[in-house]
């Protein structure tokens, strides 16, 4: 770091705008040069777009019993139905529901649950991680002990337990209605530990840096230091964890729904669709299972690929 005297006065050069700086940043550069990251992002964007626009682009409303015709049951993909002559791009299930439409709506549920659960986990984890790392001492011990104990129990199991308990305390009539929210709560609560651990260790590194002491020196409160100074500096590992967690949460939701302890049949997610399709696999109606499964895999894989790329670029030490 030799001082370059010629650069010492920077008045002559106008600092580049925010957009130019972003475009020029290492992150953006590495993104432009990574075909895998680009393709993954495009796939994710298409799937998110399809989920958001599902009510608009879906050919039928699969949950409106009036629009269903049992005669359409087991229509093969792209072949006109023998009785009604209707054509379904991806086929129809036993009830005559259009698979393409159910996938669009299932994707909507899967993404909504996944994203909400990750946001919940992030909120809890980042808050506790910041507090544990900054305050330290007894508070840190208590928070991290709780985290350790929870970590001992695999998150899918914790989610099942929370789901089971919530089901137990909810009156039967409301179970389907609250199922989605219970699912979000269960997955969110089972996944905060990752965020807390990473944020805590990053916070402990930042806390030791002198800019934090400079803020303490002028009497900034602990809360202001955590939010204004430390939080912006620990966000990049949070971003990586959030991406990887999103893939995990989507898979967890699908798994719970597949096991029948997740999304209710009235609001089927991709996992529920696979659960339904599994029954028809052995009798030859492969499309009922195949298309939801491929959609789920494409979603999880592209989110994972993005997370993997982010981790390589930001390269924090992650466990």
């Amino acid at each position: 770091m030799t001082d370059m005297p010629s650069q010492d006065r920077m008045q002559a050069k106008k600092p580049p705008s925010r957009w130019v700086r972003m475009w020029d940043s290492d992150l953006a550069w590495s993104f432009r040069h990574s075909p895998v990251a680009l393709v993954s992002l495009i796939v994710v964007l298409i799937l998110v777009g399809a989920a958001v626009l599902a009510p608009v682009i879906a050919p039928t409303d699969p949950f409106n019993p009036a629009s269903l015709n049992l005669m359409n049951g087991f229509s093969k993909p792209l072949e006109p139905n023998a009785f009604t002559g209707e054509v379904f791009i991806l086929g129809a299930d036993d009830q005559g529901r259009d698979i393409y439409s159910t996938i669009l709506f299932g994707l909507r549920i899967s993404l909504f649950v996944g994203v909400s659960a990750v946001l919940l986990a992030m909120l809890i984890g980042v808050t506790f991680g910041l507090i544990a790392g900054y305050v330290g001492g007894f508070v840190d011990s208590v928070i991290m002990r709780i985290a350790d104990v929870q970590l001992t129990f695999p998150s899918i199991l914790v989610a099942m337990l929370i789901f089971g308990l919530a089901k137990g305390v909810t009156p039967i009539a409301y179970r389907d209605e609250v199922a989605i929210w219970v699912l979000i709560l269960a997955i969110g609560l089972s996944d905060w530990v990752q965020f807390a651990r990473v944020v805590r260790s990053a916070t402990m590194v930042e806390r030791g840096k002198e800019y934090v002491q400079a803020a303490q020196l002028i009497g900034r409160s602990g809360g202001a230091i955590m939010l204004r100074h430390i939080l912006p500096n620990v966000l990049s590992p949070v971003l990586v964890i959030a991406t990887i967690s999103l893939a995990l949460a989507i898979i967890a939701e699908a798994t719970l729904s597949f096991l029948g302890v997740g999304a209710p049949p009235t609001q089927p997610s991709l996992g529920t669709l696979i659960r339904i399709g599994q029954g028809f696999l052995f009798s030859g109606e492969w499309w009922i299972l195949f298309f939801p499964a491929v959609t789920l895999l494409a979603l999880a894989l592209s989110v994972n690929l993005l997370g993997d790329w982010l981790r390589d670029v930001l390269n924090p030490r992650l466990r």
Binding site: R9, Q11, A214, I218
Partner: protein, 558 residues
């Protein structure tokens, strides 16, 4: 006959913005038994040159041209297997940080024995005998017992001796030592340097000693090569190069080294490669000076700080470590008071106690007659905080990387003063102009600045609230020597023209001599001596002070 020769060597690292040429056209010759110094500031390419000789350039970098000869054999273009046979056998290396250079999970003996057996045709028990002899040779007592210990059971200096023993395992011809004493305290540094010199003479090994420290160069090397931005600018016998340098850069570098034997008014700044940004104190201060009062501004009495070493719920089972032990001193208004000591002596802890960052476990701090500590009222503390400020050691960690420079400098003003938004902006602009960066620098982020520029930003932040008292905690120890000279000059100007009172903390005795009026010497948390600077350097009283002064690397100019 020349032992090792490097001719016209180039090393480059490809990056997305094109090739970065780390070393260009470097020449170097090493004779048996000679200690060859390789000196330069950060980014000079000296470590890269060392790694290139070892064949340890990290991918994707590589040697682009030039030749390396060991005796008659060319080693520059050797394939991987041949290089590996040579590496460690004929050329070995000493790393900078002994804490990370040893595998923590293997005993010291395991690591030495496996290296010996790799290079010499010895049986297990013979190799072990040789390992014990080696440890004994590098000055580790009870070698036959300590050989079975793990690295964490050795102190920092002892570990560096183990590292040296490892480098000697194969009876090499050349040893490359990359900043071998930078991570060590001055007393241990002297011992390690003595050991290196003895070994070079005794075993006729050629040593390439890479360092940024002119004191180390003057102390131990026979020949020195000076590098600047990837190029060799000068080479020759140490006495000649240091006493009568040919190249302008060498002259600039030497003039920036603080002399231990006299106090200068200011460093004579010889600019190399461009003009030096001037500091404009009137602009910086807006005509303000700190009010002078008679008597001490800071009175520290019986300061004591305990750190918890072992936590326990039961109070009687807790173990404490006394970081600061009954330290008393006062700082007169307008003086620069120095605290010196080795790592762990408690000097930074004292600074943080005075700055009310740490609570006091005993004693008191009075500022301008009033007692201050973390328990004082908020009004009281805020008024105190307006009047004291701090400049930190590491300019890379003392500025929040996610905040713009203007926000960093404005933060103390927004939090502690009642200036309006416009007044804050004007004050920030004036401060940036004043420290020579220009007000446009405020719209940038810290990573866009070099170390010296960042330390100027720190100075601007520290002066924003127009304090009376400035704490400087090792303000230049992370900087290159030429930048250090600039920053020290700025601090001196500020102190004199604004009547600032300063607490100056450093481990570097020559720097302390340049900066301070009075100095306290700390050891293991205790104040062992306190005297006027000149008295302390010319006639030290305490045995520890005498020892420190004796071991200080002597680099005399003029």
């Amino acid at each position: 006959m020349t032992l090792l020769s490097v001719e016209n060597l180039g090393v480059a690292y490809p990056t997305r913005r094109g090739n970065v040429q780390a070393v260009t056209g470097a020449n170097l010759m090493v004779e048996p038994g000679q200690i060859h110094g390789l000196v330069g500031e950060s980014g000079a390419g000296k470590s890269t040159l060392g790694a290139a000789i070892m064949g340890l350039i990290d991918a994707p970098g590589g040697i682009t041209d030039g030749r390396i000869h060991l005796r008659d054999q060319s080693i520059g273009g050797l394939d991987k297997a041949a290089m590996q046979a040579l590496r460690g056998a004929k050329i070995s290396m000493i790393f900078q940080d002994p804490l990370t250079a040893l595998n923590p999970l293997l005993t010291v003996g395991d690591q030495i024995v496996e290296t010996i057996r790799q290079h010499l045709d010895l049986r297990e028990d013979e190799a072990r005998g040789k390992a014990i002899a080696l440890l004994d040779r590098v000055g580790i007592g009870d070698a036959d017992e300590r050989i079975d210990q793990y690295p964490h059971q050795f102190s920092g200096g002892m570990r560096q001796r183990v590292v040296i023993a490892l480098a000697l395992c194969s009876e090499p011809d050349v040893i490359i030592a990359d900043e071998p004493t930078t991570a060590l305290d001055v007393s241990i540094q002297a011992q390690i340097l003595d050991l290196v010199r003895e070994l070079a003479r005794e075993q006729q090994v050629g040593v390439i000693l890479i360092t940024h420290d002119m004191g180390v160069i003057a102390e131990i090397t026979d020949v020195v090569t000076v590098m600047y931005r990837g190029q060799v600018v000068e080479t020759g016998p140490t006495a000649k190069v240091l006493g009568n340098p040919d190249h302008d850069y060498t002259r600039a570098l030497i003039s920036a080294v603080p002399p231990p034997n006299r106090k200068m008014h200011r460093f004579e700044l010889i600019s190399y490669g461009g003009g030096l940004p001037k500091v404009n104190i009137d602009e910086l201060s807006g005509g303000w000076t700190a009010p002078l009062s008679d008597g001490p501004l800071i009175v520290a009495q019986s300061l004591t700080k305990l750190f918890v070493q072992k936590r326990s719920l039961i109070p009687s089972r807790r173990r404490y470590f006394t970081a600061v032990d009954d330290v008393s001193f006062d700082i007169r208004a307008g003086e620069v008071f120095g605290l010196v000591g080795e790592s762990g002596s408690g000097k930074s802890t004292i600074a943080r106690m005075i700055a009310a960052l740490y609570s006091l476990d005993g004693g008191s701090v009075h500022f301008d007659g009033e007692a201050v500590d973390r328990g004082s009222s908020a009004t009281m503390l805020n008024s105190y905080r307006r009047q004291i400020q701090m400049i930190f050691q590491d300019p890379f960690s003392s500025l929040n990387p996610r905040m713009r420079v203007d926000a960093i400098i404005a933060e103390p003003l927004r939090h502690l003063s009642d200036l309006s938004g416009d007044e804050v902006t004007r004050r920030v602009d004036a401060l940036l102009e004043g420290v020579g960066l220009g007000s446009a620098a405020g719209r940038r982020f810290p990573h866009e600045f070099s170390g010296g520029q960042r330390q100027r930003i720190s100075v601007a932040r520290a002066l924003a609230t127009r304090p009376r008292f400035l704490i400087c905690d090792e303000p230049t120890s992370a900087l290159d020597v030429s930048v250090q000279a600039q920053i020290l000059n700025i601090l001196k100007d500020l102190q004199e023209q604004l009547n600032l009172t300063m607490l100056f903390i450093s481990h570097d005795l020559p720097v302390v001599r340049q900066m301070c009026d009075r100095v306290g010497v700390l050891r293991n948390g205790k104040l062992v001596e306190l005297a006027d600077t000149e008295t302390l350097f010319e006639a030290p009283q305490h045995a520890y002070t005498k020892e420190l002064l004796r071991l200080m690397p002597r680099f005399r100019t003029g």
